[in-house]
């Protein structure tokens, strides 16, 4: 498939904070001093261990074998390679793991300012998600208000495993602010590691941790729908990023089936969860977990009963595909164009402001 002529929109790529030092100029004085005097080493999450294959495609790693930092490498490897129209940077530096609300606020602010300076200012095609200190939803909303003035911020980013199910009313100030500014909520794979990453307890191995992320997404999808987030915020969209995709419809079959018999418990869920999800949820298509045969992928896509759900993503620098196979096999040319252009434009209103 030729993405080159479409002006495709990469809805998930990861600017890497090279080291905490890069954020220091963007921290308030108190925290600049604290980094120095406490000797804080950094906030790298073990969600993507440096040497794990998933963390970066081998040919994208830097000379030392580390995940590539800096926009130049991304430009060369993806942006120019596929002649992208836009790209949305989701920085997954470990702000979401911090326990202190105040430190989380300082770090989120620093990451957002760093993002604007190092990525958004560096290329007119770059866009980014706002990192929020979800640890304190009121201050997260303040950070959304602050960053939203810059129209290059097009989304609010949350980790799929935080401290409580994301549909809970505790988090609603975040959704209220996001809806007010026309920003979707992007939920990205990753955990604050407050709880085991699987419902059955801590796994022994990294592969279990990564594979279990889709369970986190199931929990959040159930929570967002059943707590009535989309009844309260009817214009809100949620993008599930790096979720694996193929778990989505079977979980909704289950949720919808049981909802029919327990509807009275959640009367604000006034139509089938499948329909609510179709209207409010979008998914980035990298990775798309499926066997290699095209027919199976086609069936998974058909089960959405909608060609508006999927968003193109490279997931750079994570290693989900080889060579030029950035689009899952099994999609028609029309679906690919929808996924790469129309669907992102429909999902991210701010992208439409500058699209020629």
């Amino acid at each position: 498939m030729n993405l080159q002529n479409l002006g495709a929109i990469d809805c998930d790529m990861h600017p890497v904070v090279p080291e905490l030092k890069a954020l220091v100029p963007h921290l308030p004085a108190n925290w600049r001093e604290a980094v120095e005097s406490r000797g804080i080493p950094g906030f790298e999450s073990n969600a993507y261990p440096q040497r794990a294959p998933i963390t970066a495609r081998p040919d994208w790693r830097d000379d030392a074998g580390a995940p590539p930092a800096g926009i130049d490498r991304y430009r060369k490897a993806v942006m120019d390679r596929w002649q992208l129209g836009h790209a949305i940077g989701n920085c997954i530096y470990g702000v979401h793991m911090v326990l202190s609300e105040d430190m989380a606020v300082a770090l989120a602010t620093a990451v957002n300012d760093w993002m604007a300076a190092e990525w958004l200012d560096a290329d007119p095609r770059m866009r980014a998600s706002i990192i929020v200190p979800w640890q304190n939803p009121e201050r997260a909303a303040d950070e959304i208000d602050r960053c939203a003035a810059d129209r290059r911020f097009v989304q609010v980013l949350m980790p799929v495993m935080a401290e409580a199910p994301l549909g809970r009313r505790h988090y609603w100030p975040i959704y209220k602010a996001a809806e007010r500014h026309g920003l979707p909520i992007g939920i990205h794979a990753g955990s604050a590691y407050r709880f085991p990453v699987t419902p059955v307890g801590w796994p022994s191995y990294y592969v279990e941790d990564y594979a279990a992320q889709s369970l986190g997404f199931q929990g959040q999808l159930g929570s967002l729908i059943c707590e009535g987030v989309f009844s309260k915020f009817p214009n809100l969209k949620v993008v599930m990023i790096e979720s694996g995709v193929s778990w989505f419809t079977p979980f909704l079959w289950r949720l919808t089936k049981f909802w029919r018999g327990t509807r009275s418990e959640v009367p604000w869920v006034d139509r089938p969860p499948l329909e609510i999800a179709r209207d409010h949820i979008r998914l980035t298509a990298q990775p798309l977990d499926a066997p290699d045969d095209v027919e199976t992928v086609g069936r998974i896509i058909d089960q959405f009963q909608s060609d508006e759900m999927l968003l193109f993503a490279s997931d750079y620098p994570h290693w989900q595909f080889d060579n030029d196979e950035v689009v899952p096999a099994g999609l028609s040319a029309i679906s690919i164009e929808k996924m790469a252009v129309q669907n992102p434009l429909a999902t991210y209103p701010r992208l439409r402001e500058t699209r020629l």
Binding site: G228, V229, S231, R260, G261, R263, S264, P267, W268, D270
Partner: protein, 136 residues
Amino acid sequence: MAYHVVAAIEDMPPGSRRVIEVNGRAVAVFNVEGEFYALLNRCPHQGADLCNGLLTVAVTSTEPGIYDFDPSRNVIRCPWHAWEFDVRTGKSWCEPNRVKVRSFKTEVRSGKLIEGPYVAETFPVKTDGTYVLVEA
């Protein structure tokens, strides 16, 4: 369509229900606070007898956390999987346009019901009573 006599009115007080056989189909008749309603006695999901379901209220909501309990919105909750059906229309509460159970018109009449198109199905009908009828 013919009217079928279900019961003498004194035999179906408010809160009562019974099943009658009409042209080979089982029809569940409910007296809900003096109003009579009739539904096919078969859940469209997996065929459970709706006459055994709980007569209750469909709770609605204008926003999360608000429970709007209007006692006039009566539903039958299927005894097997608790799907709710509007006792007046037979429409399911969860997917009213896709999932519904057939409902029948009911009527209460006095007089010589044994005459004319009326058919007594299940019990002897007196000539001078007040009767509950189902059109089917």
